[in-house]
Symmetry: C2
Subunit: 194 residues, 2 copies
DNA sequence: CCTACCGATCGGTAGG
DNA sequence: CCTACCGATCGGTAGG
Protein backbone atom coordinates (compact mmCIF):
# COMPACT_ATOMS: atom_id res chain seq x y z
CA UNK A 1 0.00 0.00 0.00
CA UNK A 2 1.10 3.52 -0.68
CA UNK A 3 2.01 5.64 2.33
CA UNK A 4 0.18 8.88 2.90
CA UNK A 5 3.40 10.88 3.04
CA UNK A 6 4.29 9.74 -0.45
CA UNK A 7 1.49 11.92 -1.79
CA UNK A 8 3.40 15.18 -1.55
CA UNK A 9 6.85 13.66 -1.66
CA UNK A 10 7.61 14.89 -5.16
CA UNK A 11 6.12 18.30 -4.44
CA UNK A 12 8.40 18.72 -1.45
CA UNK A 13 11.42 17.60 -3.40
CA UNK A 14 10.58 20.10 -6.11
CA UNK A 15 10.02 22.89 -3.58
CA UNK A 16 13.47 22.24 -2.14
CA UNK A 17 15.07 22.39 -5.58
CA UNK A 18 13.18 25.56 -6.38
CA UNK A 19 14.28 27.36 -3.23
CA UNK A 20 17.80 26.02 -3.71
CA UNK A 21 17.90 27.44 -7.23
CA UNK A 22 16.96 30.86 -5.90
CA UNK A 23 19.53 30.78 -3.10
CA UNK A 24 22.36 29.34 -5.17
CA UNK A 25 21.67 31.85 -7.95
CA UNK A 26 21.90 34.84 -5.65
CA UNK A 27 24.73 33.82 -3.30
CA UNK A 28 26.52 31.03 -5.12
CA UNK A 29 26.60 27.37 -4.12
CA UNK A 30 29.21 27.87 -1.40
CA UNK A 31 27.64 31.11 -0.22
CA UNK A 32 24.29 29.53 0.55
CA UNK A 33 24.23 27.08 3.44
CA UNK A 34 21.95 24.13 3.92
CA UNK A 35 20.62 25.94 6.99
CA UNK A 36 19.68 28.88 4.76
CA UNK A 37 17.89 26.49 2.44
CA UNK A 38 16.06 24.84 5.30
CA UNK A 39 14.93 28.20 6.61
CA UNK A 40 13.73 29.25 3.15
CA UNK A 41 11.74 26.04 2.97
CA UNK A 42 10.38 26.57 6.47
CA UNK A 43 11.91 23.30 7.60
CA UNK A 44 14.89 21.89 9.44
CA UNK A 45 18.19 20.91 7.94
CA UNK A 46 17.35 17.33 8.72
CA UNK A 47 14.31 17.52 6.49
CA UNK A 48 16.47 18.60 3.60
CA UNK A 49 18.73 15.63 4.20
CA UNK A 50 15.72 13.38 4.31
CA UNK A 51 14.93 14.27 0.69
CA UNK A 52 18.46 14.60 -0.66
CA UNK A 53 21.61 12.81 0.48
CA UNK A 54 23.85 15.84 0.06
CA UNK A 55 23.96 19.51 -0.86
CA UNK A 56 25.68 18.54 -4.10
CA UNK A 57 22.79 16.27 -5.04
CA UNK A 58 20.48 19.27 -4.80
CA UNK A 59 22.84 21.27 -6.99
CA UNK A 60 22.77 18.48 -9.56
CA UNK A 61 18.99 18.41 -9.51
CA UNK A 62 18.82 22.17 -10.15
CA UNK A 63 21.08 21.84 -13.18
CA UNK A 64 19.64 18.59 -14.48
CA UNK A 65 16.06 19.83 -14.46
CA UNK A 66 17.01 22.92 -16.43
CA UNK A 67 19.10 21.03 -18.93
CA UNK A 68 16.19 18.67 -19.49
CA UNK A 69 14.06 21.62 -20.61
CA UNK A 70 16.76 22.89 -22.96
CA UNK A 71 17.26 19.45 -24.47
CA UNK A 72 13.52 19.16 -24.98
CA UNK A 73 13.50 22.40 -26.95
CA UNK A 74 16.30 21.14 -29.18
CA UNK A 75 14.47 17.90 -29.87
CA UNK A 76 11.24 19.68 -30.69
CA UNK A 77 12.90 22.06 -33.10
CA UNK A 78 15.30 19.71 -34.85
CA UNK A 79 12.47 17.21 -35.33
CA UNK A 80 10.49 19.65 -37.45
CA UNK A 81 10.56 19.96 -41.23
CA UNK A 82 11.43 23.66 -41.27
CA UNK A 83 14.54 24.95 -43.07
CA UNK A 84 17.69 25.39 -40.98
CA UNK A 85 17.35 29.16 -40.71
CA UNK A 86 13.84 28.85 -39.37
CA UNK A 87 14.99 26.19 -36.90
CA UNK A 88 17.78 28.37 -35.61
CA UNK A 89 15.48 31.35 -35.09
CA UNK A 90 12.91 29.15 -33.40
CA UNK A 91 15.47 27.55 -31.10
CA UNK A 92 16.95 30.91 -30.14
CA UNK A 93 13.53 32.14 -29.06
CA UNK A 94 12.85 28.95 -27.11
CA UNK A 95 16.22 29.15 -25.37
CA UNK A 96 15.68 32.76 -24.36
CA UNK A 97 12.23 31.88 -23.08
CA UNK A 98 13.61 29.07 -20.94
CA UNK A 99 16.53 31.21 -19.73
CA UNK A 100 14.14 33.89 -18.53
CA UNK A 101 11.48 31.53 -17.21
CA UNK A 102 14.04 29.54 -15.24
CA UNK A 103 16.54 32.36 -14.65
CA UNK A 104 17.71 31.03 -11.29
CA UNK A 105 18.40 27.52 -12.56
CA UNK A 106 20.11 28.96 -15.59
CA UNK A 107 22.44 31.08 -13.46
CA UNK A 108 23.28 28.12 -11.30
CA UNK A 109 24.02 25.97 -14.34
CA UNK A 110 26.39 28.61 -15.69
CA UNK A 111 28.06 29.64 -12.43
CA UNK A 112 28.37 26.60 -10.20
CA UNK A 113 29.19 23.72 -12.50
CA UNK A 114 32.63 23.29 -10.98
CA UNK A 115 31.12 22.67 -7.56
CA UNK A 116 29.64 19.39 -8.74
CA UNK A 117 31.65 16.25 -8.01
CA UNK A 118 33.53 15.04 -11.11
CA UNK A 119 31.13 12.28 -12.22
CA UNK A 120 28.08 14.47 -11.90
CA UNK A 121 29.83 17.30 -13.64
CA UNK A 122 30.79 14.98 -16.48
CA UNK A 123 27.13 14.02 -16.94
CA UNK A 124 26.09 17.64 -17.23
CA UNK A 125 28.96 18.56 -19.51
CA UNK A 126 28.17 15.67 -21.84
CA UNK A 127 24.59 16.82 -22.22
CA UNK A 128 25.65 20.43 -22.66
CA UNK A 129 27.97 19.33 -25.42
CA UNK A 130 25.10 17.57 -27.20
CA UNK A 131 23.13 20.81 -27.07
CA UNK A 132 26.05 22.74 -28.50
CA UNK A 133 26.57 20.19 -31.26
CA UNK A 134 22.93 20.42 -32.30
CA UNK A 135 23.11 24.21 -32.51
CA UNK A 136 26.43 24.01 -34.32
CA UNK A 137 24.89 21.84 -37.03
CA UNK A 138 22.21 24.46 -37.59
CA UNK A 139 24.71 27.31 -37.68
CA UNK A 140 26.95 25.43 -40.10
CA UNK A 141 23.98 24.89 -42.39
CA UNK A 142 22.93 28.52 -42.26
CA UNK A 143 26.35 30.16 -42.48
CA UNK A 144 28.54 27.98 -44.72
CA UNK A 145 30.57 31.11 -45.50
CA UNK A 146 31.65 31.66 -41.89
CA UNK A 147 31.49 28.15 -40.49
CA UNK A 148 34.76 26.84 -41.86
CA UNK A 149 36.08 23.77 -40.06
CA UNK A 150 38.32 25.85 -37.78
CA UNK A 151 35.80 28.66 -37.21
CA UNK A 152 32.78 26.41 -36.65
CA UNK A 153 33.23 25.91 -32.93
CA UNK A 154 34.18 29.51 -32.15
CA UNK A 155 31.21 30.76 -34.14
CA UNK A 156 28.87 28.47 -32.24
CA UNK A 157 30.34 29.51 -28.91
CA UNK A 158 30.00 33.19 -29.80
CA UNK A 159 26.33 32.48 -30.39
CA UNK A 160 25.98 30.80 -27.01
CA UNK A 161 27.90 33.71 -25.49
CA UNK A 162 25.29 36.13 -26.75
CA UNK A 163 22.34 34.26 -25.30
CA UNK A 164 23.95 32.78 -22.18
CA UNK A 165 25.38 36.14 -21.10
CA UNK A 166 21.85 37.57 -20.98
CA UNK A 167 21.54 36.18 -17.46
CA UNK A 168 23.79 39.00 -16.26
CA UNK A 169 21.82 41.90 -17.72
CA UNK A 170 18.46 40.95 -19.17
CA UNK A 171 15.49 42.31 -17.25
CA UNK A 172 12.07 40.86 -18.13
CA UNK A 173 10.55 44.17 -17.02
CA UNK A 174 12.94 46.18 -19.18
CA UNK A 175 12.26 47.90 -22.49
CA UNK A 176 13.18 44.99 -24.75
CA UNK A 177 11.39 41.65 -24.52
CA UNK A 178 13.15 38.31 -24.51
CA UNK A 179 11.76 37.71 -28.00
CA UNK A 180 13.29 40.94 -29.24
CA UNK A 181 16.64 40.00 -27.77
CA UNK A 182 16.38 36.52 -29.27
CA UNK A 183 15.55 38.01 -32.65
CA UNK A 184 18.54 40.34 -32.42
CA UNK A 185 20.89 37.48 -31.57
CA UNK A 186 19.50 35.37 -34.42
CA UNK A 187 19.88 38.28 -36.85
CA UNK A 188 23.50 38.75 -35.90
CA UNK A 189 24.31 35.10 -36.49
CA UNK A 190 22.29 34.95 -39.68
CA UNK A 191 23.92 38.15 -40.97
CA UNK A 192 20.71 39.10 -42.78
CA UNK A 193 20.52 42.59 -41.40
CA UNK A 194 22.47 44.55 -43.99
CA UNK B 1 65.87 57.27 4.26
CA UNK B 2 64.18 54.44 2.41
CA UNK B 3 64.30 51.05 4.07
CA UNK B 4 65.84 48.15 2.19
CA UNK B 5 62.94 45.80 2.74
CA UNK B 6 60.49 48.26 1.25
CA UNK B 7 62.11 47.60 -2.11
CA UNK B 8 60.13 44.43 -2.80
CA UNK B 9 56.96 45.52 -1.04
CA UNK B 10 55.09 46.15 -4.27
CA UNK B 11 56.41 42.96 -5.80
CA UNK B 12 55.11 40.94 -2.87
CA UNK B 13 51.73 42.62 -3.04
CA UNK B 14 51.53 41.85 -6.72
CA UNK B 15 52.56 38.23 -6.17
CA UNK B 16 49.74 37.79 -3.66
CA UNK B 17 47.21 39.23 -6.09
CA UNK B 18 48.51 37.02 -8.86
CA UNK B 19 48.23 33.82 -6.84
CA UNK B 20 44.83 34.93 -5.56
CA UNK B 21 43.61 35.43 -9.13
CA UNK B 22 44.63 31.89 -10.01
CA UNK B 23 43.02 30.36 -6.92
CA UNK B 24 39.82 32.39 -7.08
CA UNK B 25 39.48 31.65 -10.79
CA UNK B 26 39.72 27.91 -10.34
CA UNK B 27 37.79 27.40 -7.07
CA UNK B 28 35.79 30.60 -6.66
CA UNK B 29 36.30 33.26 -4.01
CA UNK B 30 34.59 31.28 -1.26
CA UNK B 31 36.16 28.00 -2.36
CA UNK B 32 39.71 29.25 -1.92
CA UNK B 33 40.76 29.96 1.66
CA UNK B 34 43.30 32.48 2.85
CA UNK B 35 45.28 29.50 4.07
CA UNK B 36 45.33 28.15 0.50
CA UNK B 37 46.52 31.50 -0.74
CA UNK B 38 49.24 31.70 1.87
CA UNK B 39 50.42 28.21 0.96
CA UNK B 40 50.48 29.11 -2.74
CA UNK B 41 52.62 32.14 -1.89
CA UNK B 42 54.93 30.07 0.31
CA UNK B 43 54.11 32.26 3.27
CA UNK B 44 52.00 32.36 6.39
CA UNK B 45 48.50 33.72 6.64
CA UNK B 46 49.85 36.50 8.81
CA UNK B 47 52.02 37.65 5.95
CA UNK B 48 48.95 37.92 3.72
CA UNK B 49 47.22 40.03 6.35
CA UNK B 50 50.29 42.19 6.63
CA UNK B 51 49.86 43.21 3.01
CA UNK B 52 46.08 43.28 2.77
CA UNK B 53 43.57 44.01 5.54
CA UNK B 54 41.08 41.37 4.38
CA UNK B 55 40.39 38.67 1.84
CA UNK B 56 37.86 40.96 0.18
CA UNK B 57 40.51 43.63 -0.36
CA UNK B 58 42.52 41.09 -2.30
CA UNK B 59 39.48 40.25 -4.39
CA UNK B 60 39.01 43.93 -5.13
CA UNK B 61 42.63 44.28 -6.17
CA UNK B 62 42.31 41.35 -8.60
CA UNK B 63 39.30 42.95 -10.26
CA UNK B 64 40.55 46.51 -10.13
CA UNK B 65 43.88 45.73 -11.77
CA UNK B 66 42.15 43.93 -14.64
CA UNK B 67 39.58 46.66 -15.13
CA UNK B 68 42.39 49.19 -15.25
CA UNK B 69 43.85 47.37 -18.23
CA UNK B 70 40.52 47.23 -20.00
CA UNK B 71 39.86 50.90 -19.38
CA UNK B 72 43.32 51.71 -20.72
CA UNK B 73 42.51 49.88 -23.94
CA UNK B 74 39.29 51.85 -24.35
CA UNK B 75 41.10 55.16 -23.82
CA UNK B 76 43.81 54.27 -26.29
CA UNK B 77 41.33 53.29 -28.97
CA UNK B 78 38.74 56.00 -28.54
CA UNK B 79 41.49 58.61 -28.50
CA UNK B 80 42.60 57.72 -32.02
CA UNK B 81 41.43 59.35 -35.23
CA UNK B 82 40.28 56.11 -36.86
CA UNK B 83 36.71 55.65 -38.07
CA UNK B 84 34.27 53.98 -35.69
CA UNK B 85 34.36 50.63 -37.46
CA UNK B 86 38.12 50.51 -37.21
CA UNK B 87 37.95 51.46 -33.55
CA UNK B 88 35.47 48.72 -32.78
CA UNK B 89 37.58 46.08 -34.49
CA UNK B 90 40.70 47.33 -32.75
CA UNK B 91 39.04 47.37 -29.35
CA UNK B 92 37.63 43.87 -29.82
CA UNK B 93 41.11 42.53 -30.53
CA UNK B 94 42.57 44.36 -27.53
CA UNK B 95 39.85 43.06 -25.25
CA UNK B 96 40.36 39.49 -26.38
CA UNK B 97 44.10 39.89 -25.90
CA UNK B 98 43.61 41.11 -22.33
CA UNK B 99 41.01 38.45 -21.60
CA UNK B 100 43.43 35.72 -22.65
CA UNK B 101 46.53 37.32 -21.16
CA UNK B 102 44.79 37.86 -17.82
CA UNK B 103 42.37 34.96 -18.03
CA UNK B 104 42.34 34.33 -14.28
CA UNK B 105 41.59 37.93 -13.37
CA UNK B 106 38.96 38.05 -16.07
CA UNK B 107 37.19 34.98 -14.72
CA UNK B 108 37.24 36.41 -11.22
CA UNK B 109 35.82 39.70 -12.42
CA UNK B 110 32.97 37.91 -14.16
CA UNK B 111 32.25 35.28 -11.51
CA UNK B 112 32.86 36.78 -8.08
CA UNK B 113 31.63 40.35 -8.29
CA UNK B 114 28.85 39.70 -5.81
CA UNK B 115 31.34 38.64 -3.15
CA UNK B 116 32.65 42.17 -2.90
CA UNK B 117 31.22 44.36 -0.15
CA UNK B 118 28.61 46.79 -1.53
CA UNK B 119 30.77 49.93 -1.76
CA UNK B 120 33.59 48.12 -3.48
CA UNK B 121 31.19 46.39 -5.81
CA UNK B 122 29.63 49.73 -6.72
CA UNK B 123 33.05 51.08 -7.68
CA UNK B 124 33.68 48.17 -10.02
CA UNK B 125 30.20 48.29 -11.49
CA UNK B 126 30.52 52.00 -12.21
CA UNK B 127 33.72 51.49 -14.12
CA UNK B 128 32.31 48.49 -15.96
CA UNK B 129 29.38 50.63 -17.01
CA UNK B 130 31.74 53.26 -18.40
CA UNK B 131 33.41 50.54 -20.48
CA UNK B 132 30.06 49.36 -21.77
CA UNK B 133 28.96 52.89 -22.61
CA UNK B 134 32.11 53.52 -24.61
CA UNK B 135 31.60 50.34 -26.63
CA UNK B 136 27.92 51.15 -27.05
CA UNK B 137 28.78 54.50 -28.61
CA UNK B 138 30.98 52.73 -31.16
CA UNK B 139 28.34 50.13 -31.94
CA UNK B 140 25.65 52.77 -32.34
CA UNK B 141 27.89 54.63 -34.79
CA UNK B 142 28.65 51.51 -36.80
CA UNK B 143 25.20 49.95 -36.82
CA UNK B 144 22.64 52.77 -36.92
CA UNK B 145 20.24 50.30 -38.57
CA UNK B 146 20.19 47.91 -35.58
CA UNK B 147 21.00 50.27 -32.71
CA UNK B 148 17.59 51.82 -32.26
CA UNK B 149 17.10 53.46 -28.86
CA UNK B 150 15.44 50.36 -27.42
CA UNK B 151 17.78 47.86 -29.08
CA UNK B 152 20.99 49.75 -28.36
CA UNK B 153 21.69 48.30 -24.93
CA UNK B 154 20.71 44.72 -25.83
CA UNK B 155 22.88 44.88 -28.93
CA UNK B 156 25.84 46.08 -26.90
CA UNK B 157 25.31 43.40 -24.28
CA UNK B 158 25.08 40.71 -26.96
CA UNK B 159 28.48 41.90 -28.12
CA UNK B 160 29.91 41.67 -24.62
CA UNK B 161 28.29 38.27 -24.30
CA UNK B 162 30.23 37.02 -27.30
CA UNK B 163 33.60 38.13 -26.00
CA UNK B 164 33.09 37.71 -22.26
CA UNK B 165 31.78 34.18 -22.65
CA UNK B 166 35.05 33.15 -24.28
CA UNK B 167 36.48 32.62 -20.82
CA UNK B 168 34.45 29.41 -20.58
CA UNK B 169 35.67 27.79 -23.79
CA UNK B 170 38.55 29.60 -25.46
CA UNK B 171 41.82 27.70 -25.45
CA UNK B 172 44.95 29.66 -26.41
CA UNK B 173 46.46 26.39 -27.60
CA UNK B 174 43.40 25.55 -29.69
CA UNK B 175 42.96 25.76 -33.45
CA UNK B 176 41.66 29.33 -33.57
CA UNK B 177 43.71 32.24 -32.21
CA UNK B 178 42.28 34.96 -30.03
CA UNK B 179 42.66 37.34 -32.97
CA UNK B 180 40.59 35.05 -35.17
CA UNK B 181 37.88 34.87 -32.53
CA UNK B 182 37.99 38.65 -32.09
CA UNK B 183 37.68 39.11 -35.83
CA UNK B 184 34.72 36.76 -35.97
CA UNK B 185 32.94 38.61 -33.16
CA UNK B 186 33.62 41.96 -34.82
CA UNK B 187 32.33 40.64 -38.16
CA UNK B 188 29.10 39.48 -36.58
CA UNK B 189 28.45 42.85 -34.99
CA UNK B 190 29.47 44.74 -38.12
CA UNK B 191 27.31 42.50 -40.30
CA UNK B 192 29.79 42.84 -43.17
CA UNK B 193 30.09 39.16 -43.86
CA UNK B 194 27.31 38.65 -46.36
C1' DC C 1 10.58 15.81 11.33
C1' DC C 2 13.28 18.35 15.35
C1' DT C 3 17.08 19.40 18.74
C1' DA C 4 21.39 18.55 19.77
C1' DC C 5 25.56 17.99 18.43
C1' DC C 6 30.27 16.17 15.73
C1' DG C 7 35.02 16.94 13.27
C1' DA C 8 37.00 20.40 10.35
C1' DT C 9 37.83 24.45 8.81
C1' DC C 10 36.62 29.36 8.06
C1' DG C 11 38.56 34.52 8.09
C1' DG C 12 41.07 37.12 11.02
C1' DT C 13 44.29 38.36 15.15
C1' DA C 14 46.88 37.52 19.47
C1' DG C 15 51.81 37.91 21.68
C1' DG C 16 56.63 38.21 20.83
C1' DC D 1 61.78 52.21 18.48
C1' DC D 2 60.37 50.68 13.92
C1' DT D 3 59.08 47.22 10.21
C1' DA D 4 58.42 42.77 8.79
C1' DC D 5 57.12 38.49 9.82
C1' DC D 6 56.26 33.91 12.55
C1' DG D 7 53.72 29.87 15.19
C1' DA D 8 49.70 29.33 17.48
C1' DT D 9 45.21 30.08 18.33
C1' DC D 10 40.96 33.13 18.66
C1' DG D 11 35.41 33.14 18.28
C1' DG D 12 32.01 31.45 15.04
C1' DT D 13 30.12 28.60 11.54
C1' DA D 14 30.28 25.18 7.80
C1' DG D 15 28.19 20.50 6.06
C1' DG D 16 26.51 16.52 7.85
Amino acid sequence: MARKQAADYEQRREAIVDHAARLFASRGFLGASVADLAQACGASKSLIYHYYPSKEDILFEVMDSHLLQLTGAVETVTGSQAPAERKLRDLTHRFMGLYVGAADRHKVLLNDLNHLPPERRAMIVTRQRALIDAVQALIAAVRPDLATPRARRPLTMLFFGMINWTHTWFDPKGAASSDEVAELAAELILGRTR
